[in-house]
């Protein structure tokens, strides 16, 4: 299994720059996820790797070999698509056999049979083998679609939102199965999704893209805890990270002034030290995850007053929506925590989870 390396890859469609100097280094056997909103360039990246699109400049290496001139078939990649999956005129079995019968692979009949049965077994689709695709449910179709990719034992799996057309429950189930299969086969996998939960849950590493630019590459935990900029911070996490405008008030003990003087949050000595090092003191944004805000029933120093807008019960947790000036703040609490509508509460921000961003550039300055 090769590594996949993209260096400075640029891809344009007419005047639109779909990929703007993309650098990626995907390791052998890695499950690598590209995540981002619609139009981020994630699918284009996938298609560039597959050879279905040619790059305009930059390098694409498989291992040490230059892959730019290779055809899709020569690259030995298998593609799993979002909605297309199967050839409608062929049975499930014929669909699975199709790659093995291609002029490039042309396996013996026996080999084809044993491989198809093996894959069918792996994906629990053995009873479906003789059905036509139109007699399958969405989940079954996508299983067969994945089977078609696996059956050929390719060097690389390329998956373009394979779960996004499925019901939420099925998605949850299949994402674990897919991850399991990949870790058994140890095939290098490039997986595209717009669903950040899917990205976090499946990826060994995650690249967050937006408008053709990679914003951050890291493990799911890194991307969640230490977002490199405002975009990543806002995109990863559900509910979203809360953002408050912020400036650093200097003095004997530095503090954070939030929402133009709404509250002064004093900092511990450790944080104060870090903050002193920042070159920029104004025009900042403080980001904090909903689970890093503590709800109090009493006033207190550095606690921000807020009014309860409404409460969302999710069973394993509650999300409390709070009104602060024009903004809505979300905090995540234990399911037993309840509040009444319009009730006044006071919020404490856990300073080790605060992240400061430069409002202009969006880049993280980081504290906590």
């Amino acid at each position: 299994m090769p590594t996949i390396v993209l260096k400075n890859v640029v891809k344009k469609f007419g005047k639109i720059v779909a990929l703007n100097e993309i650098d990626l280094d995907i390791k052998e056997g890695e499950f690598f996820v590209l995540v981002g909103p619609t139009g981020a360039g994630k699918t284009t990246t996938l298609r560039v790797v597959s050879g279905l699109e040619k790059i305009d400049s930059g390098e694409l290496l498989f291992g040490k070999e230059d892959a730019t001139a290779l055809s899709p078939a020569e690259r030995d990649v298998a593609f799993v698509y979002q909605s297309f999956s199967l050839y409608p005129q062929m049975t499930v079995r014929k669909n699975l056999e199709f790659p093995l019968r291609s002029p490039m692979y042309r396996e013996s009949g026996e080999e084809i049979n044993s491989r198809v049965e093996h894959v069918a077994d792996l994906l629990h689709i053995t009873p479906l083998l003789d059905r036509m695709p139109d007699a399958l449910s969405g989940g079954e179709m996508q299983r067969v679609g994945i089977g078609r990719a696996i059956v050929r034992k390719p060097q690389i799996f390329l998956m373009d939102e394979p779960l996004s057309d499925l019901d939420a429950k099925l998605r949850e189930e299949l994402r674990v199965e897919l991850r399991q299969i990949q870790s058994d086969l140890k095939t290098t996998t490039l997986y595209v999704t717009h669903d950040q939960v899917e990205a976090m849950s499946m990826g060994d590493r995650v690249a967050v893209l937006n408008e053709g630019v990679i914003h951050q590459i890291g493990t799911p935990k890194e991307v969640y805890r230490k977002p490199s900029d405002l975009f990543v911070a806002g995109f990863i996490g559900n509910p979203k990270m809360n953002f408050l405008s912020c400036k650093i008030v200097e003095g004997a003990s530095p503090a954070l002034d939030l929402e133009k003087g709404l509250i002064h949050v004093s900092l511990s000595e450790k944080m104060a030290k870090k903050v002193r090092g920042f070159s920029k003191k104004e025009g900042l944004i403080m980001g904090i995850r909903p689970e890093a805000i503590i709800l109090h029933r009493e006033k207190g120093k550095s606690r921000l007053e807020a009014a309860v807008l409404f409460l969302e019960h999710f069973g394993s947790m509650n999300i409390i929506n709070l009104q602060i000036g024009e903004k809505i703040l979300k905090i995540r609490t234990h399911p037993t925590q309840t509040v009444k509508q319009k009730e006044k509460v006071w919020l404490e921000f856990e300073e080790e989870h605060m992240i400061l961003f430069d409002e202009e550039t969006g880049k993280s300055l980081a504290i906590g």
């Binding site: 019901d167 939960v197 976090m200 799911p220 394993s316 809505i328």
Partner: protein, 366 residues
């Protein structure tokens, strides 16, 4: 007869050819309530909504809106606002023309129309984009315009068919909050259809869970979550849903699990419950929510051992997938609990949270 409800379905059945899309639906919705129809695709939730709107005609049963039987009334006369999944905005009209369309159809005065449109537009914060045509608007804005078009006629009932499903995940959360906020502000009776249980839990006053054309349960979100009537509801709500393990009661009042006959100690209460219904044979199913299981790294008689397969780190929590034979159990843990793949751990269910279901009927044993 005077009924206090805004919408009432009595024994409604809708068929498409031989398939029964909705079967004997009975439902009452109070004035000002936000009710969510929740279920997987093909469960009949959208069909029910369309029946209420008059876009489909049920074969049997009655539909009342505001105490008036509307079975034979066309959509036009039912006084409902409908928001379609794909917005159904007219592409050749600006946002303003789209929103004012129903008012113009009713031949309101021009000045009245303008006032009403501006009021809704401000409420939805789309007053700045009114002159644009749909092709120039983002997904979130399109959604707002579609909502505004339904809101502007001030219908008795507001019907939303998966209004957020075409939005990107990042906008969906925001739009959901907006819909809830607007509902709190204007208090219109609303029915909201979705297949996303998170969305349902977040905004509903009550959730109507449906499956295979039948209503399973009608209750407030937290109530449904903690007291599901059957296995379908228990698994459909929650992310991940409830875990199930087949089990039977042993002579010595322990549970023999379908995991290679592993034995689980259980407390008196559960034993009594099982015995009370006399179902002590092998037709039981234990249900336990992922967040109600603790992981122990050493043997625990109140737990059962399984192998760790995959740990999903999804930010504020981890989903630990455990396997034993064909059984998969999901456990929700704090983000700092990170067992290794292949490691054996003991899953210890919270005894008070264990639920027992009848394997045949799939219903809960109370």
């Amino acid at each position: 007869m005077y009924i206090m409800s805004m919408i009432r379905l009595i024994n409604m059945t809708k068929r498409f050819g031989k398939t029964v899309a909705v079967k004997n639906a009975d439902l009452e919705i109070e004035k000002g309530e936000l009710v969510v129809f929740l279920g997987p695709s093909g469960c009949g939730k959208t069909t029910t909504l369309r029946c209420i709107a008059g876009l489909e005609n049920p074969e049997e049963g009655e539909i009342y809106i505001d105490n008036e039987m509307v079975n034979d009334l066309p959509t036009l006369d039912r006084d409902v606002g409908f928001v379609f999944q794909h917005y159904a905005l007219f592409p050749h009209m600006s946002a303003y023309q789209n929103i004012s369309f129903p008012l113009r159809a009713m031949k309101h005065k021009k000045s009245d129309i303008e006032r009403e449109v501006m009021k809704v537009a401000e409420l939805l914060r789309i007053d700045k984009i009114l002159q644009f045509k749909p092709s120039h608007l983002s997904g979130g804005d399109l959604q707002s315009v579609a909502l505004a078009r339904a809101l502007v006629i001030k219908p008795k009932v507001f019907l939303l068919d998966e209004p957020l499903s075409t939005l990107d995940a990042e906008f969906r959360e925001e739009a959901r909050t907006m819909i809830k906020k607007i509902h709190l502000e204007i208090g219109a009776t609303t029915i909201y259809v979705t297949h996303d249980q998170m969305e349902a839990m977040a905004i509903a006053d009550r959730i109507v869970t449906m499956n295979l054309g039948e209503i399973q349960q009608i209750d407030a979100p937290e109530y449904v979550y903690h007291n599901p009537v059957n296995m379908f509801v228990a698994n459909f709500l929650g992310s991940p849903g409830m875990n199930f393990i087949d089990c039977s009661l042993e002579e010595n009042n322990t549970l023999k699990l379908g995991l290679d006959g592993k034995i689980l100690q259980i407390n008196e209460k559960i034993v009594k419950k099982i015995k009370a219904v006399g179902e002590d044979k092998a037709v039981l199913m234990m249900g336990i929510r992922p967040e109600d299981i603790k992981l122990s790294f050493k043997k625990d008689v109140y737990g059962f051992d399984m192998k760790v397969t995959i740990v999903e780190e999804i930010g504020p929590e981890n989903i630990v997938n455990l396997r034993s034979g064909d059984h998969v159990v999901k456990v929700l843990t704090d983000p700092d609990i990170l067992p290794k793949t292949g490691e054996t751990v003991w899953a210890v269910p919270d005894q008070d949270k264990i639920r027992i279901f009848d394997q045949q009927t799939k219903k809960e044993i109370l």
